[in-house]
């Protein structure tokens, strides 16, 4: 049973006031708030454990290395990876995608093809555009329909033996669509194409099992699941990561350096040059443990209720249109009210202590498809409440009266 007070008390920031009103934080797709345990772990690390990892022989180095590697195992279990060295720590989803795109830049040839979708975040478009520009490979796009469902028939037609990689978002950050990644992976593998899933919006909201999915690559950010900013994960199957060239050169990622030839370290270190965000990675473990304690299925079930409740209430507001009404949706609602600019709405809600996001959400192709400049977006986390939805709806009504 969800104990509301217990959950809310875990997140100190939820208790602050903004513009003299109690904060209602509905911008969780951008970043989530951090739990007390994450915050105190950060303090503990710098107060008692700080040291560089993997190279030192002294006590502190051993301690921080142990804690850093424990986090890797926690992530491994969280997404059910087969090996812990399949977990590469990065600074975020964007870097994870760039890491992979930079490796693919070395191996792709002219006539190779990469498939992405029309609903990708810019960070899963631009790295592949650069990759294609550098290699002569072609970028193909899966469109989506007016409800926000991917057009799988077109996808099947786009797939061919030249397709080397399919890079698809698990959950759309602007439409909330949960994509049928199981089917996408299956279809791709039939043509021997590898698949990268952008899990930035899914890790805190739906169950991830990379082995069951048979995903080749999967990435996500810690900060969107109650963890610190500046930490991300790239999961890759061992045999694929071994085939890829290294990403950045530097310390940690080498086995032996000679001016004639340098040999690279084994996984995961081959992809982790330089001193990583040690503290962030260590504290990330606490965030995952919280999700595991609550249970991802309980989170999903509760957030689904928030989504239906908010959708129903919003639909009753005159002139309000929701963008993204896919069959399977995560707790993200993008909308506009006729005659009102999303920016004006955002400014007024902010004055009432309500944090929402406005703009194109780094998905300009989605906005172009709907012929709009942007939307207002509400996105939930497990700590949000039905009462907050009621207050947000009232605030939207008030803003509407002011603006129209």
């Amino acid at each position: 049973m969800r104990n509301e007070k217990e959950i809310r008390d875990l997140f100190p920031l939820l208790d602050i006031k903004v513009n003299d009103r109690p904060l209602i934080y509905l911008d969780n797709a951008a970043t989530t708030q951090k739990s007390k345990e994450v915050i105190s772990e950060i303090e503990k690390f710098y107060s008692l454990e700080n040291s560089n990892i993997h190279r030192g022989v002294h006590h502190l180095s051993q301690l921080s290395t142990d804690n850093f590697e424990k986090s890797r195992i926690t992530v491994q279990n969280f997404i059910n990876a087969e090996h812990n060295h399949e977990i590469i720590f990065t600074k975020g989803t964007t870097e994870s995608i760039n890491l992979l795109a930079s490796c693919y830049r070395e191996i792709l040839k002219k006539d190779d093809e990469i498939i992405i979708s029309e609903m990708e975040h810019h960070s899963n478009i631009v790295p592949w555009q650069i990759c294609c520009q550098n290699t002569g490979a072609k970028l193909k796009i899966i469109p989506f329909d007016e409800h926000g469902n991917l057009d799988l028939e077109t996808f099947k037609n786009l797939l061919n033996t030249n397709t080397k990689l399919v890079a698809i978002t698990h959950i759309s950050n602007s439409l909330g669509t949960i994509n049928p990644i199981e089917e996408i992976i299956k279809l791709s593998h039939e043509k021997n194409a590898k698949v990268l899933i952008d899990g930035a919006q899914s890790a805190a909201h739906v169950k991830i099992d990379v082995q069951n999915l048979d995903a080749d690559f999967y990435c996500f950010s810690a900060h969107k699941l109650f963890g610190p900013t500046g930490v991300g994960v790239l999961y890759g199957k061992e045999e694929l990561l071994n085939l890829l060239p290294p990403y950045q050169g530097g310390g940690e990622m080498i086995k032996e350096v000679d001016f004639e030839k340098t040999t690279f370290a084994p996984l995961p270190f081959k992809f982790e040059a330089g001193t990583p965000n040690i503290c962030g990675v260590v504290a990330f473990k606490k965030a995952i443990e919280l999700i595991q304690r609550i249970g991802i299925d309980n989170i999903k079930e509760y957030e689904d209720k928030l989504l239906s409740y908010a959708t129903e209430k919003l639909t009753k507001i005159g002139g309000l249109k929701i963008y993204g009404q896919a069959k399977l949706k995560s707790a993200i609602i993008s909308f506009n009210i006729e005659g009102i600019h999303h920016y004006d709405l955002g400014l007024i809600l902010d004055k009432m202590g309500i944090a929402i996001r406005t703009g194109h959400h780094c998905t300009q192709p989605v906005m172009k498809k709907f012929k709009i400049a942007g939307t207002a977006r509400i996105s939930f986390a497990y700590y949000n409440t039905f009462n907050e939805i009621d207050k947000c709806i009232d605030a939207i009504e008030k803003a509407k009266k002011m603006l129209l």
Binding site: N19, D344, L347
Partner: protein
Amino acid sequence: MNLSIKEIEKEIIEEFELFDNWVDKYEYLIDLGKSLPKIEEHEKTNENIISGCQSQVWLNAKKQNNEVHFFADSDAIMTKGIIAILIRVLSHQEPKEIINANLDFINTIGLKEQLSPTRANGLVSMIKKMKIYALGFEKKL
């Protein structure tokens, strides 16, 4: 004789002093935005757009009798309200006056929040563009 930039700023500060809460202030900005004459669609070009993450502004200027006249529009009403204030202060002034205006009344009337980075295009870019127009006219003298 037109009022000077400083004199208009003083007027605006006095008007804003009457508001004791944000709702009144925002409603006033919304009204200003609504009353700002629209500019024609064909005058909204790539040359005069100030594009940002949140809202777009189109800003035109012309010179008459050594005075700069500004015309602007935005897709967001609050942005339009803010630009209406800037137009009230800077329109019908000589280029030199516009270039040298420091516009510190913006802080006094509590619109400083409009200067935070994501909202910057709402205000900083608008002022910059207005000064660039004035600079262009000044050089043509």
